[in-house]
Symmetry: D2
Subunit: 391 residues, 4 copies
């Protein structure tokens, strides 16, 4: 092995962490806890893991929380933790979408930093309300776990675009096919499917909110571009489903670039096929989430190159979020953990009353509002038969 | 090696072939001649290889044509060949688009079968004129070389969809990125670029006509679906270029399926990236032109499979157009040759006054008209800011 | 997302862990600590992180160890920890090879479980000595971190072979090319290269010990076979290097199967190219470490399948060591962590005086002795010009 | 499309070709005929397509041969054709191995050029006899169809090695797994299997002769190296089979490079898995026959590159044997045809009494003798339990 590892070097300065949601039977809560733990930057101490008191208690006990720090009401938790000397400094919100903003506000008001799952909110209006609140709370760190932006090769792509290696960006293609909603499994009580297809919990968008926002955020994050307007055609293929399960979007970026997003949850053979391709006047980049350690790069007129995480051609932005040498694959959890570790750096800067160190990057409230604006623009455009809508 | 070869078994019954276009400096003419020769189904005997008499002569001599069968005017050639006992039975038209229909008409009127390069015509109106003429000439075989439909795994996909293995088709995604027009090479006199970006020779569409039509034809051919309406956003990224070089289209198929087409000639790192993906209620298929011997198939809920040309799982439609055993890759020229051999079967059936044998399949006038309708719909939709246009 | 996560559910019963080696500047120590932490099964409390007292102290402080639990002598550490009520229950040994066995003995004698990096020892004799000692210490859990055996798809392969899905195994091909020792970087003081090419620290084998043993262990682990005899040709390509850097081996397995191992550290373009292929009378399997979430499976006469971690066709052995749904890649650290979590289960069974639960699997002393026997057989065979040597 | 085509430009100077073997039911004969035809360099006029007179006649008629040029005895054919003014100038020998040399001698004695399938002979002694004869016949062109050496990217690799881009070659790995002989299909009368596993027709080697020689020839052709000695372990896994079906070989090249060859016909999931990897002090190359348009190249310390046929980084040696632009895949038949076209250039030079033009490259008698020496060395080494044997 050729390069030095990275990992737990900053331990001993762990951040006290709580969680809302993520009790027994949940998926993403466990991912957040693991991500928080990976680089030894956090210690998990309190939770309102379920709104059901019994399940909250069982979940908290299983995870080894002290009995007096197991809550079933996040408002109560925010207040109680704020009063303790050893109260949590940050909270992860991993509930269905409709609870994100109310919970975030409770903790922000209690002076506690927030790490929130995506999409940010139930509606764009709600998201903007949170944005206004945060504008008045400069001491609060707010992070949104668009986790794919934590992958080293995503950072590498962004750095290359910024450095002008692709020239002027012309084309950005994003896609995110899945197949797990090919059949109406929400009717069989599959928990993930049930809330994600229930407009009361998930909001107006189905696939467009769940995976379309990831694609949109990543396309913008990697290309450095913002979307000006879009035309969308949302479809629901599974009979009786209440939200879209296939999303076609055409994009016009500010500055003239063009792009498309395809997101689908009914395309058999696709597990989690997020892919971003960016083409400019001087070169092109291609990245696929399922094989995240690779970034294809072609300087126009030269041979195609395969940049690998940690390998030759991989620069400083990727190196910051790389743990092990090239050829030793990192994956989804490492990318997720990278966001947690970046946020830890920001929180520690707040603790110490200083500016955060250069290079620390994670999605925040602006990404969250942009994501909600994307969902609403897609829904609106689709309702108007694909008319172009400003984002 | 495990299976029996195929190839030249029907020789001795070769079809007499002529050509319009394809003289020195051309690209696709040589491909047509090679494709005609591969399975020993044709003998090349006459040509109007260039409108320039000197170049026509030099080209014909180089290819070993008899001096009296080298022409510079295709009308003259059609008449002269029609009079000979040993005159050509079929002609390949491999000129720029604006000559396709006039040349086809000259040979059809002379009773000679036509194999025409794509797109069919300069305009939809011209294409429909040819369609009307052909409707009155039932003895003429007319083929359009949408060559990608000759690939065995494309045939395999089509057969599987037809057999219902994918269930009801929901999503069809087509893409065709290239990069060779990233810079304005038409200004440097590159011959292929010059005519393909000149609206007087190529028609109203640039990338949409050159490669968009291939994608459209193949998406319909493989899925068995027809498009009802589309919304397009055509862009010209290279300054001064007179036609589009990047094409975004959203598709609504008859019956409810949805899809998108992306065609681009300015996306660095893509040589000839034609790809078709089809998803239904029971399974999905994915095929990539650059690796044409593979077809990915996932029956929903089962493991993804890699069907290979000639291998297990490959059926009769592919076997008809397969020459060598699995693991011995066939490519672009073999696919092209498959169309020529299919057409030879149809011509021989005409010769012998019988019905063509079952399974013979090649694109014809209907595909050509559909392609022109696609181009015009895209241009129209784009001009109307992406409004949905019936095809 | 389609399946339930796994992860930290057993927390609150964490195992107290120490470490020998792994101080500042080391690579694999940080990997072990991260692997221990990932599933929240361990708490890291003490270390002899370096034999250099100053470096040991600095390293321990950085990692947040209590001052009285930072040691520079592992013997002292073993004694001191054994006396404490809250002393470590297990220790990770992550030193150069020559320290493995002496350190292991110190902790075993102190009644502390051992997790040891590979290869097991400096020599086969030393390994056998440890084996004899462990035979007398049935209450000690001893694990060897042949980490690649922790990958879910490796477990999947093993389970399929065991279930007879491949029929009688005939061919097992292992390879492990790297390129990081293409140049004599040990002369430039690169720390990893220096000790790994120093026979006094690494033992008689260079590449054969460092990566050949991984390949050998995995080939046997996945195929369920044991090697009877081997013929080896070890080469040192870089002038002045004191150990082999390219390894060619032919294998004869007990029962008649044949195989080869190629391990190289001088093959440019290979980062960490471990690959195992197994072929039997009924089917074949192929697995590549750089893309660990995929397992290729071909039942003879049928279509090739791509089994994915967590996807259809993935069985119970893989599911036990899977955290996130298919399409969300897991990697090197997750595989490493799987071993730590398996060992935690074994240690907890000892704690509770019960048998370990079914299915718990990790490499131990037998693998370690086998690995040393492999190294010595290769060195011996090569010295005798490739003569077959019993393992 | 970006570059000019190539193909039939030299027609009108076609070479008159005959064939021995390749009648109805054969595989490789049709491949040779198609390869000869592809670039319009040959005209097929005569054949002893079978030793069975009836089958010879039926085969010849089907292929359109004139009745007086259909033979059942190749000696008779050689004599008769030599007497005709329009007699064949060259003959393709596509029989089982035991007929290669006797047939070649008959035609050489008649002054007719020979294109012979591989392996060259039934035994090394027989091969050397042919070599001696050819040494006295400088006007005869003799080619051996190690067809894989006709692939453009194989030529590209060879050119790069020659130009020193890999530095000093250290490691050459060749492999050629197949699976079609996993079961004893020779007992079911499968024609290809029957003669290839019959030592009376195929010679002493099974897989080692059929595909081992291809691997060996290609490894030497691409690396520019010659083998000094080898150690082999040949195995027959299918009970009752009379020749080897799995081949393990360790190689020591002149000059110090090391390598291995694995050839197998019993490895399920492998169709025709020929792969060559070459590593030197400055870089590495990897090529896979199933995806022949790609060549992986890593200059040590830089990013891995994907060189494509016709694309950037592809040089003059590949360009000579390239027909269509990058992204339009060429395959097995094109590679095969490249040899035929190269041989045509050599034959035309003989016709015209001049030296052949620079760059013309095809395998000949030396490759054939080397291949037989390889087979015999493998068989001998294996019989002596893997002892090193000079080649």
């Amino acid at each position: 092995m050729a390069i030095e590892g990275r990992g737990d070097a900053s331990a001993g300065r762990r951040i006290r962490l709580g969680m809302v949601g993520g009790g027994q039977g949940a998926f993403i809560g466990a991912v957040h806890r693991l991500a928080a733990r990976m680089d030894d930057q956090y210690v998990f101490l309190a939770g309102a893991l379920s709104a059901d008191a019994k399940r909250a208690r069982a979940s908290g006990e299983e995870l080894g929380l002290a009995p007096d720090r197991i809550y079933s009401d996040y408002r109560e938790m925010a207040k109680a933790e704020a009063k303790r000397d050893d109260g949590v400094e940050a909270v992860s919100i991993v509930t269905p979408n409709n609870v994100h903003v109310p919970a975030a506000i409770a903790f922000i008001d209690a002076g506690i930093h927030v790490i929130c799952d995506k999409p940010l909110a139930f509606s764009l209006a709600e998201a903007k309300g949170l944005e206004r609140k945060l504008a008045k709370k400069p001491d609060i760190v707010f992070a949104l776990t668009h986790n794919y932006s934590g992958y080293p090769m995503v950072r590498q792509a962004r750095e290359m675009v910024r450095a002008g290696e692709l020239g002027e960006i012309r084309v950005v293609q994003g896609e995110y096919p899945q197949d797990w909603l090919t059949n109406p499994i929400e009717r069989e009580g599959q928990k993930q499917a049930t809330w994600r297809t229930d407009p009361k919990q998930t909001g107006a968008g189905g696939a467009v909110g769940d995976i379309g926002t990831h694609t949109y955020q990543l396309a913008c994050f990697m290309s450095g571009l913002a979307v000006d307007e879009l035309a969308a055609d949302l479809t629901t293929f599974v009979k009786g489903r209440k939200v879209d399960d296939n999303v076609n979007v055409m994009l016009r970026f500010k500055g003239g670039a063009r792009g498309m997003i395809w997101a689908s949850q009914v395309s058999p053979g696709n597990e989690n096929g997020l892919k971003i391709r960016i083409y400019g006047s001087k070169g092109g980049l291609e990245w696929t989430q399922a094989d995240p350690n690779y970034l294809w790069y072609t300087p126009f007129g030269e041979t195609k190159r395969l940049i690998t995480r940690g390998g030759a051609g991989s620069g400083t932005a990727a190196a910051r979020v790389t743990r092990v040498p090239p050829g030793h694959p990192e994956g989804y959890l490492e990318g997720f953990a990278n966001l947690y570790t970046e946020v830890a750096r920001a929180i520690r800067a707040k603790r110490e009353g200083r500016k955060v160190e250069e290079g620390v990057t994670f999605p925040g409230i602006a990404d969250g509002v942009a994501g909600m604006a994307f969902i609403e623009a897609c829904v609106k455009s689709s309702a108007k038969n694909g008319k172009w809508v400003k984002v």
